[in-house]
């Protein structure tokens, strides 16, 4: 099975050499053997009242089907049905077409499909004298309701978020974009989990090469299980060695819809509320969906704050170390004096101090996310009082470092999607501690080179090439958020069919 790389191999394929017979009992035995020691599978045998020839067996998993539907629309009509033509050859066809009330019926004789059908929550109907079966859709399982995503809050904007059911998620997107051009393509990934994955794009807007590339990369996945879209993200992303995201993820259908309208491709994955969008550029980390719902001036200012916060959160510790240890002449005298006082009696060098505090903050942050809510306040008490205040009073850490760390930490929360800032920050501090401001500048240049070199599905991460000269048109949704009546085009190299609105203004 391992050699077949390009096609998704399911673990039920190994039963495919078994053929169903025309004997009902034999077929039941075959399936019972496959499902040995699985007690959730129910084999319900019944016969037609009026015709002895019709003997059936419904096979299903108790917890995954809509029981009443199955009883009322499958078992009841078959038992009550009056099969007049006794000598009818294809009774299964009669049942499929004239007896069962169900929207979705599939007729098959392939054993792996039957197994999958049962496992997915369908009801499989076996009939004597037939080597084929009916797979009837009776799926019903419990899903979480549509709630506001906890990770992406908005003040203004739709409150609905994806849940774990891919069908719900698709319906949420469909309701946003009512267009026949909106295409959904299913794939099944995971030899054991057989997770349904859905690729979603707007035909005529998304670029074909990108769609093809997404399909190709998804087809190349050969893994036993996909439990979260993170698996897919990591398996198909560009630059797998770097900590920066090259595939976007969101829990909000409105965000997915806006990305689709800009020509991106979305991948939904069953069992996770996170939709993936690709290609993903650095600028998206600074964009929030609320930018587009609020006044454009306020949105632009907010975006500006996010840029500043990014600079602060990556650079302030490094600049502090560089200024304190190498370039003291650049600090105003009064500040120098007060820092010098604060540093008196502190046993560690500034770098060690700074690194200690940065790491402590990250530990606190991680503790805050992992800790159960009822005892969550303990983290803030320990963090703020014990580590902050007491450490300064005991002269283990100097007060300016606490301020620097706090500023750094708070600024990181403005761009929650830039998870890699911690790594950037540490590298900046290390370089600054070796070479001062020179080292800091060196590391900034290095980071810039890394960003400029990165690609996401062929799109440059910084949009540094391919968009032509840096004109106002290209800056409308990057540096600022231009008013909607000015954004007449889609992003240049991600989408085709650039025209977005007819502007009469």
């Amino acid at each position: 099975m391992q050699d077949a790389k390009n096609t998704q191999v399911s673990d039920t394929d190994r039963y495919n050499n078994i053929k169903l017979s025309t004997n009902l009992e034999e077929n039941i035995t075959i399936l019972k053997q496959i499902f040995t020691s699985d007690e959730t599978i129910i084999f319900r045998k019944f016969e037609s009242m009026n015709n002895d020839r019709i003997k059936c067996c419904a096979i299903y998993i108790d917890a995954m089907i809509h029981k009443e539907l199955m009883e009322q629309h499958i078992i009841k009509p078959i038992i009550l049905s009056n099969f007049a033509e006794d000598n009818c050859k294809d009774i299964l066809k009669v049942i499929e077409h004239k007896v069962i009330f169900s929207g979705e019926i599939k007729r098959t004789g392939i054993i792996s499909d039957i197994i999958d059908g049962i496992l997915y929550g369908n009801t499989v109907l076996l009939l004597n004298e037939s080597n084929e079966v009916l797979i009837i859709n009776t799926i019903e399982w419990k899903t979480r309701g549509i709630e506001e995503p906890v990770s992406e809050n908005v003040v203004r904007g739709p409150r609905e978020g994806f849940n774990e059911s891919i069908d719900t998620n698709i319906s949420l997107i469909r309701r946003k974009i009512i267009s026949p051009d909106l295409k959904f393509v299913y794939k099944q990934i995971g030899t054991r989990t057989k997770t349904r994955v859905c690729i979603c794009y707007l035909e005529g807007v998304a670029l074909e090469p990108i769609i093809k590339e997404v399909m190709k990369r998804l087809d190349e996945i050969n893994i036993d299980g996909i439990l979260e879209s993170g698996y897919i993200e990591e398996l198909i992303r560009d630059e797998p060695l770097l900590p920066f995201k090259t595939i976007g993820s969101t829990e909000r259908p409105d965000v997915v819809a806006s990305k689709l309208l800009e020509g991106r491709v979305a991948v939904l994955c069953d069992g996770t509320p996170e939709a993936l969008t690709m290609p993903y550029i650095l600028m998206e980390a600074f964009q929030a969906n609320e930018d587009y719902y609020n006044n454009y001036i306020i949105a632009s200012v907010n975006r500006f704050f996010r840029y500043i916060a990014f600079i602060i959160t990556t650079s302030v510790p490094a600049l502090y170390v560089a200024l304190i240890n190498f370039n003291q002449e650049l600090i105003p005298t009064q500040l120098l004096i007060s820092i010098s006082i604060a540093r008196q009696g502190v046993p560690f060098p500034t770098v060690v101090e700074t690194l200690l505090m940065i790491i402590t903050f990250e530990i606190l942050r991680e503790a805050g996310t992992r800790i159960p809510k009822p005892i969550g306040s303990a983290v803030s008490i320990v963090g703020a009082l014990v580590l902050g205040d007491a450490a300064v009073n005991a002269r283990i850490i100097s007060a300016p470092v606490v301020i620097v760390t706090a500023l750094t930490g708070i600024s990181a929360f403005l761009n929650p999607k830039l998870l890699a800032v911690f790594i950037i920050r540490i590298i900046f501090v290390l370089f600054a501690s070796l070479l001062g401001l020179y080292g800091y500048m060196f590391s900034v240049i290095a980071l810039g080179l890394v960003f400029v070199d990165m690609r996401s599905f062929g799109i440059p991460y910084m949009l540094n090439i391919g968009i032509g000269p840096l004109t106002g048109e290209n800056l409308k949704d990057t540096a600022i958020r231009a008013p909607w009546w000015l954004m007449n085009t889609r992003p240049r190299i991600i989408a085709k069919n650039l025209k977005r609105q007819n502007n009469n203004r």
Partner: protein, 384 residues
């Protein structure tokens, strides 16, 4: 092997980052002592360097800054600075030095040798303010910080310099400017005087008046009343105060606040006569009437203006005359004006450009414009 070579290459490139990257040394701030003021005296043929340095003293709740003063001598200033480590325990950190005070005797002998290290060394700052001690040792001024522990002489002197543009009773000179004016052919250097004055049982550090240099030697001084017209001629003064005395029948004193001075200096030569004509246009407002005369009244105002224009003219001309006759040091930068307005003449002077200064006939023309009278239109009326 090829891979290995490549690895070595990368390693070497990475190493060169550290080797070829200029001045880098990791230094903890508390390891060096921040110098806030330095005084240089000369004892016999040795320099005596006195430094005011900060010593932060960590307290349990609140930390404080104390100053310490150390003094040591050496054949050169650098030697003295290094010898001070014996006493202070830490290396003096010069980047935040705010004042250098040279003793009067060094200035009289020639200040250039004592300046050299401050300009040459990479750690000292060229924006530091330069002072000349008015009398006695320069270190006496720094010693004032020992009298009360919270007093930081360097910061006090620095604040005085920051507000020079309002006070206008002493020039503002930093090390770079001072050095360049000393070496310059077309202008002479000046520096503020700093001295001690005991008043009401306490000692003030008083910055007042101008030290006049010819070359690198101190040749004389201007008091703080003479400094103001000097600054008007030499610098771009935008603020200040004119006090008109004995105006009107009740001889009130009137303070005119200056808002702007438009200045133009024109050089003209007529055979052997060199004339510099200065046009000074004052925009002022009456800010204080110390008396009962209604000087805002049109007639009185005209009289006030006339009187003040005349007095200012005399003040300006007198200070030039004084410097010309007594010191012969071109602190007004007349040489620069001649060089700009008549470069041919300046070139032809060559070595003798020095001699031209006392031949210059300076004529001032003052116009005073009063644009307002503050928030009051009349002097305070005294009820009967």
């Amino acid at each position: 092997m090829k891979k290995f070579k490549k690895l070595i290459l990368y390693f070497l490139i990475f190493c060169s980052l550290f080797i070829n990257s200029g001045c880098w040394n990791y230094r903890e701030m508390e390891d060096s002592a921040i110098v806030t003021a330095a005084a240089i005296d000369k004892h016999k043929d040795k320099y005596v360097l006195t430094l005011e340095m900060l010593r932060p003293s960590p307290g349990f709740k609140e930390s404080q800054v104390e100053t310490v003063v150390f003094s040591d001598d050496g054949k050169t200033i650098f030697e003295a600075a290094r010898k001070i480590i014996r006493r202070a325990g830490r290396k003096p950190y010069w980047n935040h030095n705010m004042a250098i005070i040279f003793s009067k005797s060094i200035a009289q002998e020639g200040i250039a040798p004592a300046l050299d290290w401050f300009r040459r060394d990479s750690e000292t700052r060229s924006t530091v303010s330069v002072f000349i001690s008015k009398d006695g040792f320069a270190k006496d001024i720094i010693m004032q910080s020992l009298v009360t522990t919270r007093r930081i002489v360097g910061i006090e002197l620095n604040d005085t310099m920051k507000n020079q543009g309002i006070s206008l009773r002493y020039p503002r000179v930093d090390l770079r400017h001072f050095r360049s004016t000393i070496s310059s052919e077309n202008i002479s250097a000046t520096a503020p005087f700093v001295g001690l004055e005991v008043k009401h049982g306490k000692t003030d550090i008083l910055v007042s008046g101008t030290a006049v240099f010819k070359g690198d030697k101190l040749v004389g001084s201007l008091n703080d009343y003479e400094t103001f017209p000097y600054l008007i001629i030499e610098e771009k003064v935008k603020k200040g105060l004119i006090v008109a005395e004995n105006v009107g029948e009740q001889s009130s004193n009137v303070a005119l606040e200056i808002f702007n001075i438009k200045k133009q200096l024109n050089f003209s030569s007529d055979q052997d006569r060199y004339i510099i004509k200065g046009y000074f246009n004052f925009t002022t407002a009456i800010d204080e009437i110390s008396g009962t005369d209604d000087v805002i009244d049109e007639k009185m105002r005209a009289a006030l203006i006339q009187k003040e224009e005349h007095e200012m003219k005399i003040r300006l001309e007198e200070v030039v005359k004084k410097v010309q006759t007594q010191y012969n040091a071109d602190i007004f930068g007349f040489g620069r004006i001649i060089e700009m307005q008549n470069p041919k003449l300046w070139k032809s002077m060559g070595e003798n450009s020095d001699a031209i200064f006392d031949k210059i006939n300076f004529q001032a023309e003052v116009k005073i414009h009063i644009k307002g009278s503050g928030r009051q239109s009349k002097p305070i009326k005294v009820g009967k």
